[in-house]
């Protein structure tokens, strides 16, 4: 089973190299093929970070435009997906900083903690306060939390995408979760029990 997986992975690597070579040579069909392979995941992450359809589209488009421009610089040190996500996350975070679209998420933690009720039936309140709490996290915690706990990236992938060590990714996730627990502490007893 392991041998089969390794074979499939190596075959995928070869195909990826061939695809990249075709893109570099200017083959438009190869560009489209690469786009189709990765656009869903890049778009999902952009949407998670931006929270708006228009911004997510813009960030995804810019990601692929920049990737096609710079694909000759790709050194195969990581997978193509990791390289694409690194570009996408960088574009999204820079874009969010510039457009200041995180106004909803900029609600301070104290304010977010005061929004909740203790009622178990108030699940929509939990989600609303959780959204506010995630939005109020600083960028480094929120990014790692969303990538790991929401989008399912591994710490290895997060480290490669963000350019940070795996241990740093784990620490940021731990601290991010702790901040969220603290912000939603009044729900704790109710939901844990």
């Amino acid at each position: 089973m392991t041998a089969l997986r390794v074979t499939a992975e190596s075959r995928g690597r070869v195909d990826e190299r061939q695809l990249i070579a075709r893109v570099i040579s200017g083959d438009p069909r190869a560009q489209r093929e690469l786009y189709e392979c990765h656009v869903d995941r890049v778009y999902r992450l952009a949407y998670r970070l931006a929270g708006e359809e228009e911004l997510a589209r813009d960030f995804t488009q810019l990601t692929f435009i920049r990737a096609f421009e710079r694909i000759a610089e790709f050194r195969h040190d990581s997978s193509l997906a990791t390289w694409l996500h690194a570009i996408g996350v960088s574009i999204a975070l820079n874009g969010l900083r510039s457009v200041k679209k995180s106004r909803v998420r900029d609600v301070p933690l104290e304010e977010a903690s005061g929004l909740g009720t203790t009622s178990r039936s108030a699940e929509p309140d939990l989600k609303a306060r959780l959204s506010a709490a995630i939005g109020s996290l600083s960028e480094k915690y929120r990014t790692v939390f969303l990538m790991h706990d929401v989008e399912g990236f591994t710490h290895d992938e997060i480290g490669a995408v963000l350019g940070i060590p795996v241990g740093t990714s784990k620490t940021r996730l731990f601290q991010g979760r702790a901040k969220l627990r603290e912000a939603l502490a009044d729900f704790r007893e109710e939901w844990v029990s």
């Binding site: 949407y47 488009q61 692929f64 959204s131 627990r181």
Partner: protein, 304 residues
């Protein structure tokens, strides 16, 4: 406590799945169209032109090198030109001679004159040199046609006799060449100055005749035209005795022109209409204007 944290984290993780939940349908085609449009726009974007930096003067050694190269180039060109040009045994000098016109006006002209050279073979077939044009002598004075010096209408001496002998003579001298050295237009190099002078002269004559036909109603203009015609007449006679008249057709034209010019010179201010018609008849009967225009090559002749 730790167990509680893990449980709560699971709750938060599940709840966080709804945080900025992306739509199930990814707008692939719209985004791809936007990507293609952006790539096309980028491809058609003009190149960024870098503005030139501040002007820096060239160092002195660059100027010296450039000057030396220019001097070397000119010297090489002159050397090649001298080396490739034909050696001329007999000096046929085309100099700007001061041709004294028939009335002694002293107008300066650039008609080539050929100095009679003692070294020219007198047995040359064209020793007599001058050419009879058969034209009328307007002043009623005799024009010698024999070899030697020639006396113009008013009796003053004009240089330029015997050049036909000299021209033939130096062509025959032992330069070792069978064919005469030819210029750019297949004309013997020695005759090129005469051709240039002839063309310029004919252009001036055409201008004079045109002015005569249009402006000769005014007595003041008659005097000016007469003076102009006098200068041209002397030059015409010089050209008739030069290699420029080797061409029979051109010689006939110069002869007819000489007649017309002489008539204009003799035309007194305020002359009768009959006299003018006589001159006009000479111009028309000989088709002088047409032949003049045919003889003058197209293009500007002033710079010749």
């Amino acid at each position: 406590m730790m167990k509680d944290d893990n449980q709560f984290d699971d709750v938060l993780r599940r709840a966080a799945q709804d945080y900025n939940r992306p739509p199930t349908v990814v707008p692939r085609e719209e985004m791809w169209a936007a990507i293609e449009a952006a790539q096309a726009k980028r491809a058609s974007r003009p190149l960024h032109i870098v503005a030139p930096g501040p002007h820096r003067p060239m160092p002195r050694y660059v100027w010296l090198g450039a000057a030396a190269a220019a001097v070397l180039l000119v010297a090489t060109g002159v050397g090649i030109g001298r080396w490739s040009s034909a050696p001329v045994a007999a000096p046929v000098s085309v100099e700007k001679s001061r041709a004294v016109a028939a009335n002694g006006s002293g107008a300066e002209s650039a008609v080539p004159s050929v100095e009679q050279s003692a070294g020219i073979d007198a047995s040359g077939s064209h020793a007599s040199g001058s050419k009879s044009t058969g034209s009328a002598n307007p002043g009623g004075k005799q024009r010698p046609t024999d070899g030697g010096q020639r006396v113009a209408v008013n009796g003053q001496r004009v240089t330029g006799t015997g050049h036909r002998a000299s021209g033939t003579g130096h062509r025959a001298l032992g330069t070792g060449r069978q064919a005469p050295d030819r210029g750019a237009f297949g004309t013997p190099r020695q005759e090129v100055p005469y051709q240039v002078a002839t063309i310029r002269h004919l252009a001036n004559a055409e201008a004079l005749l045109t002015a005569f036909r249009t402006d000769s109603r005014d007595a003041k203009m008659d005097a000016q035209l007469a003076k102009w015609a006098r200068d041209l007449l002397s030059n015409t006679r010089l050209l008739l005795d030069s290699p420029a008249a080797d061409d029979p057709q051109r010689a006939r034209l110069l002869g007819d022109l000489e007649l017309v010019l002489a008539q204009i010179v003799q035309l007194s201010p305020g002359a009768a209409t009959q006299d003018r018609e006589l001159i006009e008849g000479s111009i028309q009967s000989g088709h002088v204007m047409t032949r003049l225009r045919s003889a003058i090559p197209a293009g500007p002749t002033r710079g010749l």
